[in-house]
Symmetry: C2
Subunit: 427 residues, 2 copies
């Protein structure tokens, strides 16, 4: 069980990489107590080797990550560079050379993970990735180990801290989307190009990984319906609140009669749910299994130390020679998911239409909905100064198809002064 | 990695045992997909073999659990009988005969676990116990595997669903303690003798296990300060609410300057905390690590299927030959905890005193507190019809010693018409 010394190489010394290096010495005693062995950081590969780095004595700085893959002394390669191509090459080459891998790279695993998992299987190597989903929340391990006696029915996650921070600021402080985004950028939560976060792609990457872990199937990232929160109107946050909901960016997946229904959408969450209480840059995952019932995990989904915590957990696992079932399933090469065609998905909906303040417009809109079998559960109509009046509905369960057809018909009939807003509702 | 067939023997066919047997066939395909092997239930030991049992064909019914320990075909013995003596014998004898163990027996592990863990270590056997703490919530695995890169600073748990159900009923429906307890007994949440649940012993058992996992030390159960919720007055729930708190039965442990401060107490939890939102028979654990930050896990802490979910997770782990670091530390024989003397523990306090409605009594009480250096942050005084008036204080941080000395002095000075109520405050 012991390994005496485990030698590691690290690629990437950004936020997570630096946190990892810091914790490796800060928690040295804990790590030894947990594994019985010394963990030695031999080399770190960075893009710019001329910059001043805060590294322990004796750690070698490289500018070619591929040197980690070929160094025979290195047992474990930790990939924290991000990006697709170089990271993929590094991992593939490291696996070929018999190394174990830890990565936080959700984009890579979601878009191109299948071949890497296959290679790891061939090489009987660990390819661990707790840090790639929800930072410090141990959702990968939970699905891979603890819940293996369950049939998972559904899971929902707030998987992007930046997006959740923006929504929380809009909700609690009444900020506009642009102001909240600018604030997130200033605080370092959001990148200069916030596309991955706010347009839902990052959430979708993580959802693909959670689906693999929960159901043992491959859900092609390119087939995932994705909608982000860009330019979400605070008016909708207010209306949602009147109905008793908070708007959250959720990744959701559900097994319905053997078909997987999944996607990333801004979603109204009942304010009594724990998911609705997830504030700021926190992440959370809620899932339902046929044995465990409802389980909810909440923690810091990003940031230097929480993410590094996940990397270290994986490293301890490798040091302990824990069995490497990378997928959590005995069969490592996973079949493609049986995907419910997205237009057949059903949900209750929140809808907002901007209309002229004319008599009969409520009747016409309600008619367009009922023509498609979309029935209304609640409605709010409020006067506005400008002549453009928001008409807001909560519907009963309806299919995506029915809803989009109804909206299409409204658009064609020229009822709408602005594009219709349709968000799914949970609870 | 494969094992073809894993043969198990089960002791105990109560709530959890039946749930386990049910899931074993219900989730057969999932289990095979997760392990690559068939899990075969060979024998079940029950007290009364004459009763009609719903068991799959071919399962042998025994009335002596020790037969499981001596059956050479059995690989894994699952102990779900409860109780101390027989369970301990069964586990010890099974370990001696080279079997792996899964148990849900928190009382046994908390009170007499040390020798069993030592024996498991000698025999290089797994002794797994996810089901013994917080039912379906994977807190054992999380501490043992995922958070191993952390130094844990503190943890708090709502670890007893019965107690939490009673408090939730009292809070949401204004019931008395007795009415809520009777209701819990009627619903099957509470035993006829509810001592373990409502007097805090069950929570303390689980806390001892969590302390082992978090800090790798043995906290003797007999040294744990324990106070339950028996006869908690709904008046205090109301006052707590006025201050913005909910009363919860918490097991708490915190590392302070190398000393462990731990105990089980009814505690006022700030209503904005997720812990305050844990309703009904749910359990939750919140912890703080120096890497992960704050982490919160919430789920069903008892009941047939959620607890069986944890047993199955452990079984899958054994089937996969996962490394058996039973304690989560390399060193399996754990040192005794360095325990902070309980009277030196510090906390903010909620205090209620029933006093005569006389002028000067507020001054006298406040004086008795300030004499011991206990300073008051907020106070509520309300008139009552009976002449006995509740005086309620929230204090700043004070030591247990100072608080009990102040209360002693009040008692001696004959200020109090009823015993003083002192609850700790979190947040």
């Amino acid at each position: 069980m012991s390994c005496d010394v485990l030698t590691i190489g690290l690629a990437g010394l950004g936020t997570v990489g630096s946190g990892f290096v810091h914790l490796l010495s800060e928690n040295k005693e804990e790590l030894r107590a947990r594994t019985g062995c010394d963990i030695r950081l031999k080399s770190v590969a960075v893009r710019d080797t001329t910059r001043q780095r805060n590294l322990p004595d004796g750690v070698q700085l490289l500018n070619d990550p591929m040197q980690l893959a070929t160094d025979p002394e290195i047992d474990v390669v930790i990939e924290l560079m991000g990006g697709i191509e170089t990271a993929k090459q590094l991992i593939a080459r490291s696996l070929e050379n018999g190394k174990q891998i830890i990565t936080a790279n959700k984009a890579l695993l979601a878009e191109e993970g299948a071949c890497l998992f296959r290679l790891a299987e061939e090489k009987k190597a660990a390819l661990r990735y707790e840090a790639s989903v929800a930072g410090g929340i141990p959702i990968v391990e939970t699905l891979k180990e603890s819940l293996t006696g369950n049939r998972i029915n559904s899971l929902e996650g707030i998987l992007n801290g930046t997006g959740n921070y923006i929504l929380s600021e809009m909700t609690s402080k009444g900020r506009t989307f642009d102001a909240a985004l600018a604030d997130a950028q200033e605080k370092g939560y959001a990148e200069a190009d916030p596309t991955l976060d706010i347009d839902g792609y990052d959430t979708a990457h993580k959802l693909v990984l959670l689906i693999r872990l929960a159901w043992g199937v491959d859900y092609p990232y390119t087939e995932m319906p994705i909608r982000g929160i860009r330019n979400l109107d605070r008016m909708d946050i207010e209306f949602a609140r009147e109905f008793g909901y908070r708007i959250k960016l959720l990744g959701r997946a559900k097994m319905r009669n053997g078909q997987l229904e999944a996607g990333v959408f801004p979603t109204l969450v009942n304010h009594t749910y724990l998911l609705a209480r997830v504030g700021g840059a926190f992440n959370a995952v809620r899932l339902e299994g046929n044995a465990v019932g409802s389980l909810f995990l909440h923690g810091l989904g990003a940031g230097s130390l929480p993410t590094a915590s996940a990397v270290l957990g994986d490293l301890v696992s490798i040091a302990r020679h824990n069995n490497r079932l990378n997928s959590g399933f005995y069969q490592q090469v996973l079949p493609k998911a049986n995907i419910l065609p997205p237009e057949q998905a059903c949900s209750t909906y929140y809808m907002r239409f901007m209309v002229k303040d004319d008599p009969g417009v409520l009747r016409d809109l309600a008619g367009a909905l009922s023509d498609q079998g979309v029935s209304i559960a609640q409605a709010i109509q409020k006067g506005q100064s400008e002549g453009a009046v928001p008409l807001v509905f909560m519907t009963h369960e309806a299919s995506v198809q029915a809803v989009s057809k109804a909206v299409d018909n409204m658009r064609r009939a020229d009822f709408l002064l602005a594009p219709a807003i349709c968000y799914r509702v949970m609870g």
